[in-house]
Symmetry: C2
Subunit: 405 residues, 2 copies
Amino acid sequence: MGLIVQKFGGTSVADIDRIRNVARRVAGTYRRGDDLVVIVSAMAGVTDGLIGLARKVNDTPDKRELDALLATGEQTTATLLAMTLTSMNIPARSLMGFQVEVRTDHCFGNARIQDIRVDRVRRLLQERTVAVVAGFQGCDAEGNITTLGRGGSDTSAVAIAAALKADACEIYTDVTGVFTADPNVVPKARKIDRICFEEMLEMASIGAKVLQIRSVEFAMKYNVPVHVRSSFSDEEGTMVVQEDNGMERVVVSAVTMNKNDARITLRKVPDTPGIAARIFTPVAAAGICVDMIIQNTRASGKTDLTFTVPKGDYQTALAIGRTVGGEIGAEDVFGDDTIAKVSVTGVGMRSHPGVAARMFACLAREGINIQMISTSEIRISCLIEQKYAELAVQALHTEFGLDAS
Amino acid sequence: MGLIVQKFGGTSVADIDRIRNVARRVAGTYRRGDDLVVIVSAMAGVTDGLIGLARKVNDTPDKRELDALLATGEQTTATLLAMTLTSMNIPARSLMGFQVEVRTDHCFGNARIQDIRVDRVRRLLQERTVAVVAGFQGCDAEGNITTLGRGGSDTSAVAIAAALKADACEIYTDVTGVFTADPNVVPKARKIDRICFEEMLEMASIGAKVLQIRSVEFAMKYNVPVHVRSSFSDEEGTMVVQEDNGMERVVVSAVTMNKNDARITLRKVPDTPGIAARIFTPVAAAGICVDMIIQNTRASGKTDLTFTVPKGDYQTALAIGRTVGGEIGAEDVFGDDTIAKVSVTGVGMRSHPGVAARMFACLAREGINIQMISTSEIRISCLIEQKYAELAVQALHTEFGLDAS
């Protein structure tokens, strides 16, 4: 008998039939004798529908009000699942963010969890009642409704699991787990049985959409083992856990790609202190997250500066680049939004030198030019032309021995 | 400069265009310098849609969960109106029932307001911010979301106006006010300029759908003048106020009818103590509200007992009547669901004897048989055959001098 947290994403609760399917799974766990907290997302499409409604009012709707509007999505799923469970004679109660309560900061649209007071959840569990929690939402110290950002229900689940010291946190989604590469791109991609938090974090931060980054940070910080699995099958998924010696010691665990960035270059800017700050201060002020930055020094006392931003911010960032470029005397400012970032990730590369060289050689053999490179302790990313993205992923998947036999 | 509470019903906020229309009206009041609390219903059709969704899960969904589900309807409207107002540079904040807070009892689906802590609303008003309150909802002492029953947003509005000691409470709806009769039935019906709480209460309780009964009780108890008017025009509506000497002294203010009841008769039951209790105890236990009751004593020591119930409960009540009738030796038990109740209402009848006689004579002239009669101090109701309902209302409207000239 354990305490299990189960989280079901939007496609898993997309309609009443699927909610019934989820209820049957929850009922199975409950009848086994486990205590159970279930976290749900909005039904697939609902959040986008609500955003569309808000945009009819205003292109940039008030953030506080938007959060209170979006929160209805998860509220709807939580109540429907709770009433489905009670109609199956499984005692269940829905709890919204303010009822749990999931206390966050005031940052509407992207609030961070500060504290979770799980007293009410605990009382329900003591009565052998399933707590069905609306994910993605919380409330700030003034009682305003906040939301945790896209994919925030993952974070709700892991944070509640941490607060309850749950025995397991299961994230049910529409894929069977975490793969060595996107199976749509690499037919020979394999499901990973166990992956450590650090690798999952790197993969989430470079575009693998399985888990929200912040949920992995939470899981790592509080050492909550997360089981990513499909709500449409009983197949075991991927365990995301603390690194241990028993873990398969592969050099590279996964190959990923991301086509969501664009590149901006300022050519021949003066190579003097303060220039980078001149450029990136207004970019940051515009709320744009810069990913990669490269500065190449030229002999002439000039330097080329290149950086990448999300595609949605490309035009804004380019305009800022041109303004600042004019002020500081850049020779030219230009951009490119037909780029892709391919990455290899693996804790094994800490103890295996030469992974970068092997990656570059592999890409070279395929005739793919590398535009930018960035690395972390357990990841190497290369920016390339977008049209080569799939080819690069396939070649690297084979190079690092990940292909299924 | 006053403190105004404005409530907008479902048809007034049915879509984004109508919400904009409401926002313009609110903005006008705000710019005049008034402090403003706006209460909104769910967009027309939304509540029924949510009930339909819940019924897909279960015919009798868990009441606590249904309330939390239905509450999303008003939450959606409140946030959309608040963001519309902020986009027009009118400071506005949405507040849900738990945020106001509207404290109720635990009776899910039909909760009664126990207390309203308007501190948060007052703080917003002090900052010259419009408080947009989700109507129809509250929360109980444990923080569970509750709803106030059909039309509950009227009650939210009046109760909040009472708690704030507002200068006015305006109920915006899709009709221009309270009429002497349904204009669809009586083309010569006139809008009533002023009506007192007692009359409005009688009219609400016999099926006039303009205001929820409980909202009128609240208005009367706390003496909150209510202005019922249309959100689609600037025309003055009907003032619902405390009775005063300046009020038009008509004998009858309005004629109404109601086709929602059915009649059940138990013939020749023993005329002994306890018989009525034998019948009405199981009816009450089934949650059925009995309206009219008549008992006619016969010479033989037997009595006929007739009562009316809502049409939706007709079959259940008839079955109970037949069971009990068999036990107590009734000669026959039968019912009729093709009946109507026509009523005349007016505080003037307190001081004018003979109103009942005039009503009966008028119906007799039209050849309409009266099946049952019930009266209050300011109302007389007659049960008749349903097919005569419109004729009866028209004849009584003329008889009591209500026709527009």
